[in-house]
Amino acid sequence: MKKYMGNKLAILLFILPALAIFITFDFIPIIQVFAYSFTDWNGLTMPNFTGLKNYLDLFTDRVFFTSNRNQLIFAIVITVYQMLFATVFAITISDKKMNGRKFLRVAYFIPVILSVTVVCQLWSAILSGEGLLNKLFEVAGSDFKQNWLGDRYKAIYVIAFVNAWQWMGYQFALIVAGIKSIPADYYEAARIDGCSNVKAHMKITIPLLAETYKFCLIISLTGGIKAFTEMNILTGGGPNKSTFTLTYMMYNAAFKKSDYGYGLAAASVMVIECMLVMLVINFIFRDKDQKKEEEKARRKRNA
């Protein structure tokens, strides 16, 4: 068996196409990004090596700290929102007794289909000073009018919500697909044991989809760290760069100030942050993976 699953030729054939494309069109450019982050390159002229200057400048830049704070807020908001709603809706949809479940499944996915531009235009109309939301508060007689997107400290939460709202549908679809791949007899067994539907899911779905959840966690957290488009459309990074992220810093430095090297230093820091997050998540889930394997083995023996 070990020899069967360790077929060297097969492994090579399987991993080569992906690796080739990845290395050529992604990895080589990434290496260049790191290399240029140590230079004063402006995108066009010959770069001069400047050592750690870009990084030292970056760490003393006020915007660098704002950006990191924003990324953290963004990542936490979207992770909590998406995982929570995606799980709840996925379990609901998977219940065969739920009326209109096919329709609901399509509906929850719709925001994912639309381009970010459309979604951001919609939300900027809803959230603007005289937008739908403030008007609703007005009609309700409440004076809870807010400058939703223009607030120095709160805007980032609002932007994170827009992103979470749009991409929740995708994690939802992944979890639905995951539930489908769990054999139905697991649930039947649970039902016979007298578990309620919710309880059955708590006990079966969530542990069995650990790998899917791990993945969802990684995309949410790293998605938060590299956020850019939403800020670019909704606030333009403002007011006064208070909704910047490292990607935004990179964009601003490279294209507004023609200081590509500095921008790429910001991008490099961001990539390192993402990698750290991924490693930490892998580390946290590692033990659970093993536990899960053991449990599986036990269940097999019992059955």
């Binding site: 090579l12 054939l13 080569l16 196409p17 690796l19 080739a20 494309i21 290395i23 050529t24 080589i28 290496i31 260049q32 290399a35 402006n42 995108g43 066009l44 002229t45 010959m46 770069p47 006020r62 900027s124 603007s128 000073g129 400058n147 939703w148 997107l149 223009g150 607030d151 120095r152 909704l234 606030t235 333009g236 990074g237 403002g238 007011p239 006064n240 760069k241 208070s242 964009y251 601003n252 490279a254 294209f255 507004k256 100030k257 023609s258 200081d259």
Partner: protein, 453 residues
Amino acid sequence: MKKRLLSSLVCLTVAATSLIGCGNAAATTTDTAVSTETKTEAADTTATETKAEDTTATSGEKVTLSIYTQYADDDTKVPYDYAVEQLKEAYPNVELNLIVQAQDDGQTLKTLAATGQLPDIYQASTDLINTFRESNQIMVLNDVAESTGFLDKLYDANKDLAYAEDGNIYAFPFSGQEYVLWYYNKALFAENNLEVPQTYDDLLNCIEVFKSKGITPLALFGQEGWNTAAAFDVVATRYTAGGIKALDEGTAKITDEAYVNAAKKLEELVAAGLFQEDATTTNYDQASEKFLSGEAAMFINGQWYIEDATKALGDNVDWMFYPAQDAAAYTAGKAAFSGGGSASGFAVNPDSANAELAAEVAEFITEKYCEAKVMYRHNPLVALNTGKEPDSEYPAMMKKLSDTLPSVTSTTKFTWGLTNSTFNDGIQSESQGLVSGQFTADEFIADMEDIME
């Protein structure tokens, strides 16, 4: 089925391995000298192409030139369409391939330049001219400007717009000197028995009255940094005529008393509610519609807006001299405008297969842009003396501006005319902070000082 899958898999792998081979080779060279390599590469290909193209050009066959410019609203479409039409007669063998410019801070053009794909003709701002100058990706147009008579047609006042800092011509400007105008809705002021404000105290009074009526005093499109920088500049020029231009050139410091006072004054006006609360997330169209529909009483924009404003509001719109701290400063300040010309316009890619022809065509298009702007957009403030008359009378606001201009003694710059890109980025975002009302004048001054170090 199985066999087909397998064989295609093998094909893929073979292709992939060859890709990897090239990829690694590329990696080692790219790391050391990317730009030179691509440059020589680009030069090689253009050299061979030039030969081929030369023969075709002389034999009267079609030449296609790519041009990167804006093409969306009337202000950009009308001149372009007119130029294309005229070009057909003057250069029947030239065809233009329009690449529509994106609103992306020059990201597309810079990437095209970095990868050696610059279009033959492109619209270049001051910032781009300075960047491309260093990397020789912008053609020196001195000779063409001479031979086509461009320099003769250029208004004396606009001479400085054609020349870059090093004394060469890199772009043919079509816009002349431009000005930041403080527009106001006459009808709204009359309805509320308000005089046009001359001092900041008058202005504060206007703000109070308009706000009590639910009218936005001044609609700012603060999502765009240039508008917030202009808002700061119209205040700063009341205290020192140099405004942001002096800061850009380094002849003044942000900690100078005049700028500190200006920032404090703007802070006070913002706190009183001069701008709408969500000003920093308002885009141009939102703010403009607010003003044109009478929901906002005032508006700050360039003089190019005269045409649109007149079309929508007719006699009810006018521009005012910027209010100042007292009556004396107001009168004195009438001669100091915010805004100014910028060295920008149509530039040519020196590596183009038809660089010479492209330069001629660029000059031709520039002339036609000026003509179209005068004739159909009623904007006489173009770079060149076209000798054309507008197809109808100039709007009243334009006449008033023309009458005022001879007495104007100083202008500043629009952000796209600034030369120091660090300062440019700084003033755009810091002024945005100031108008948001969430950053104090002290923070503004401190941050700007920090940025300029």
